[in-house]
Symmetry: C2
Subunit: 232 residues, 2 copies
Amino acid sequence: MGIGVGPGDPETVTLQAVRALHHADRVVAPSLAPDAVGRAESIVRQVAPDLTVERLVFDMSAVAGDRLASHRAAAAALTPHLDAGEEVAFATLGDPNIYSTFSSIAAAVTAARPNTRIRTVAGIMAFQDLAARSATVLLDGTETLQLVTALDGPGPLVEALTNEDQAVIVYKGGRHLPAILKALANAGRIDDAVIGELLGLPGERIGPARDWPDQPASYLATVIVAPSKRHP
Amino acid sequence: MGIGVGPGDPETVTLQAVRALHHADRVVAPSLAPDAVGRAESIVRQVAPDLTVERLVFDMSAVAGDRLASHRAAAAALTPHLDAGEEVAFATLGDPNIYSTFSSIAAAVTAARPNTRIRTVAGIMAFQDLAARSATVLLDGTETLQLVTALDGPGPLVEALTNEDQAVIVYKGGRHLPAILKALANAGRIDDAVIGELLGLPGERIGPARDWPDQPASYLATVIVAPSKRHP
């Protein structure tokens, strides 16, 4: 079961997620090393201090093939517990159905063990928390929203910005932030944009894009751009 | 303060929302009549049974001009409390920054009382709850997502569906559901689509679009369409 635990602030966790964590026979969370407490584990510790969280180690920087191997290894580690009839809760940042490691693990588990019942519990996404913290109204009336990644650069963003009646969210753009700032300025949308990183965590930074340092930000930095037609 | 209380199931409410409701001096919720318990009020009653919820009456079917008048009247009703220094919590379905009545009320309050401090607490959106309940992985890798409304028909949906690497969410499409089903079929995407209404409420219905009755659904029906390129 994939449980969304929000972007960072334990307060953004839902009642359902807390209950599901307690109900599970085993709680696991992704980690970069056996002795590294990941963000999801940290959130679980805060909302459910009595639970023990087991670490599933992933090499997040792995290239595609290694990543698949890494997901298969994680699935293999879970199989004995699932075979024993346990309900295993996998805590994951944000929402488990949106750009989540959980989807890959679930696919690997299902490939190895086709009858596994996969369930998820929705979680608050970083862009929602950023909208709340920055007092940004994202959508009204018939405005649309597009969520894009900037893993490979600002290309998808540039296209999404052409519609002024559209809010745009950029995920995974930390490395390309200078190019993103340039794209926002070129589209005349930089005054509608807010950036946030480490939301709800020590070192949190939230601010208007026009004042943001022109350098790479953290991998999970989030950019939100409000529709601009409202302010003609 | 606008507090998102999720789409219907009180379990989707966040810890932060429950705390903010209790912390406020006054809790209000939109309603269609002084003697009608709205969905947001119903959710608050379940997560915080000890609180009293006051109803702010709106004519949801009003045309644009009347709606503005209705928002101004609601803002006027809140002004004395705000003037008295109270913290007023406005409970709203879904997320308060995404297609929410709260944005309109906040704008009306700010117009009448410019120094009012407006804050929001993010809430789980219907499409996230529907993805969880229907076991739909919405986004992976560099896929994109577009959220459109179908208030005026399926036009924005038709355009959004042309990108097969894109998940599409349709809100406010209940009335135009037959046209939406046709657009999904024409785009070859109907097998990727799931529809839900009354999520987490009595009478909830969730099912694949291909089996959905060819007739209007409730105003708040939600359609989610997963990217289709994954399944070539």
